[in-house]
Symmetry: none
Subunit: 192 residues, 4 copies
């Protein structure tokens, strides 16, 4: 009966929000944005529809919330990857990529599906370009440091491979030789 303290309230808030976002991520990834209804999300999150609208302005806002959360967790991840040795760093990048693909498969699917909706949501396009450039630049720096003469072009190819591998893995999944590809790539690019 006594009012909750501010802190308690904040905790409840952020728990509920994460709850909702978790449900959204899973459903968006599996069924796609359009085929997922607010009711489904509320049900999966174990809350009422009304409460969902307390935290998010609407369905599209849910998408933004999801992306924001992904962006911050990704930033964290990148800190551990970059080191002084470019060969080691490149290997880290590759290993992290494959690990992510395997461990956070649903996130991958979600982001990929979203990426193809570039024309539907304006904010997705900006995000996509930004990501693409960041990635490619990092790879170019590493390849340059490793003495690769066509660093820029090869960086592009590597970046392209990341997306291609993700894409194919999403389609074929259990039948896809992800391990083999990982080993071959690491041998080819990182071990001299």
């Amino acid at each position: 009966m006594s009012p909750r303290s501010k802190e308690q309230n904040n905790k409840v808030r952020s728990q509920s929000i994460n709850n909702i976002l978790d449900a959204s991520l899973e459903l968006f990834a599996v069924q796609g944005y359009d085929a997922t209804s607010i009711s489904m999300i509320a049900e999966k999150a174990g809350i009422s529809k009304g409460l969902l609208y307390n935290y998010f302005k609407g369905k599209e806002d849910l998408l933004r919330g999801l992306i924001d959360r992904l962006n911050s967790s990704e930033a964290d991840m990148m800190k551990d990857v970059i080191g002084n040795d470019p060969g080691q760093t490149l290997e880290n990048v590759l290993r992290v990529f494959f690990k992510e693909l395997r461990d956070n498969f649903q996130q991958w699917v979600f982001v990929s599906k979203l990426a193809l909706q570039v024309d539907k949501f304006d904010f997705v396009k900006d995000l996509a370009i930004e990501k693409y450039k960041g990635y490619t630049q990092l790879l170019e720096q590493l390849l340059t440091a490793l003495g690769e003469p066509n660093a820029k072009q090869e960086a592009r190819l590597l970046a392209v491979m990341f997306d291609g591998i993700g894409f194919q893995y999403m389609m074929i999944k259990e039948d896809y030789p992800l391990d083999e590809i990982e080993n071959y790539l690491i041998n080819k690019y990182c071990i001299k």
Copy 2:
């Protein structure tokens, strides 16, 4: 007084059908399958909703129709690509890929979006696997003929690059250096 001749009818039929499929392709590509309504398709095709259901059993059947049409046109295309000289054939493959990506961009987008709906439509999954295997095998044969020692792995990488390039081009489009990538790839793989 006599009914339309069978030939006349067939002509009318196939015109309407292609009309509908054209409209579907464009809308599915731009907005996605789920976000495209039958009404939109009928309107874009300039016909009534009812007529659409005269030719297609439902929305999913439209998808199949679209895929069937794509498959036959793709089969035609492949005939001109394969020749006796593996180096030339590989170059053809690359050039055709980039040409298709540019000229039939909408088809590409459609197929890619569909590929990510693999779990929603059973027949899509089968199709995807079949396509993937066909592609990779052809590339492996060509690379083997060209004396590449790791033909299998490199074929996979090439296949992966195709999907990756398509994916990135779809996202970034006018800002994407498609020409540069094409030239670099052809130089790298086909010219000795």
Copy 3:
């Protein structure tokens, strides 16, 4: 190429019409009037929708056509039933009733379903009343001739039993003791 003679035309006409009515009867009986579409009827009759509209003005007209055909066939049937001996005639009536119920089950179902649509089709109500009165009068005459003191009331009960038996048989069908009921009734009413 030569024009058909008038006679030939009439033959084709009445064949087509009976064809259509047969299909309608079966579908109306099994699925009901509302749940049966013109397309289904045309398909079952093996003709085009257009031709159906050549013979019948619309769906409701089909119903009238069906009823007209039933009325004439029923009139035929009644001729053989009535004889000089009231006991024999009553037995005939009973036997014919059960025979019809068994042999032309679909017609029974059709008519019964129609009878319950009394409010939907004006012409059905008139028909129903007329039939009911005709039946009951005949039975009353027979029972009177047989010396039954409450002929009028007992005639009503018999008429009621006919409808009730038909009704229950329609619902329960293979599990319904139609034979037993037939025998019991004939013994009870016709054999002194």
Copy 4:
């Protein structure tokens, strides 16, 4: 600020539900199941189509809801009918039957129309058989207790008469001598 109490909600719920069921019963009875649209029901109930789907999964579920409600009210009714004296009980049964037919005519029509849809809805068939057996058994017991030698057969005839009377009354209604039949039957079967 606090949500509606559970009790309040239940009240609102059951009001709406009964509202919808009332409208459905009337429309199904008059027009039949197939010819009644959800829109009509919603309009008659004074609510939106959407709300109807909040409470019922679909049109067929509405039917089940209606049947469930009828079943419970019927069970209540039967309690008052059965007593120690078989003659009195049989008279009660007869009187209640006629009373129901008159007072809840719409329910009768609804149930009868439904009974003829036995092939369309599986659960209707089971229900019909169950009802039929229950009825007939009760009548057989009563007739046996009253010393009727052919109790089983006569019970069948009585059961059949119930359905037949209902059937004819539905068709002819205001012109049907329901009172006379009632009196005659009671005199015939219950008064010695």
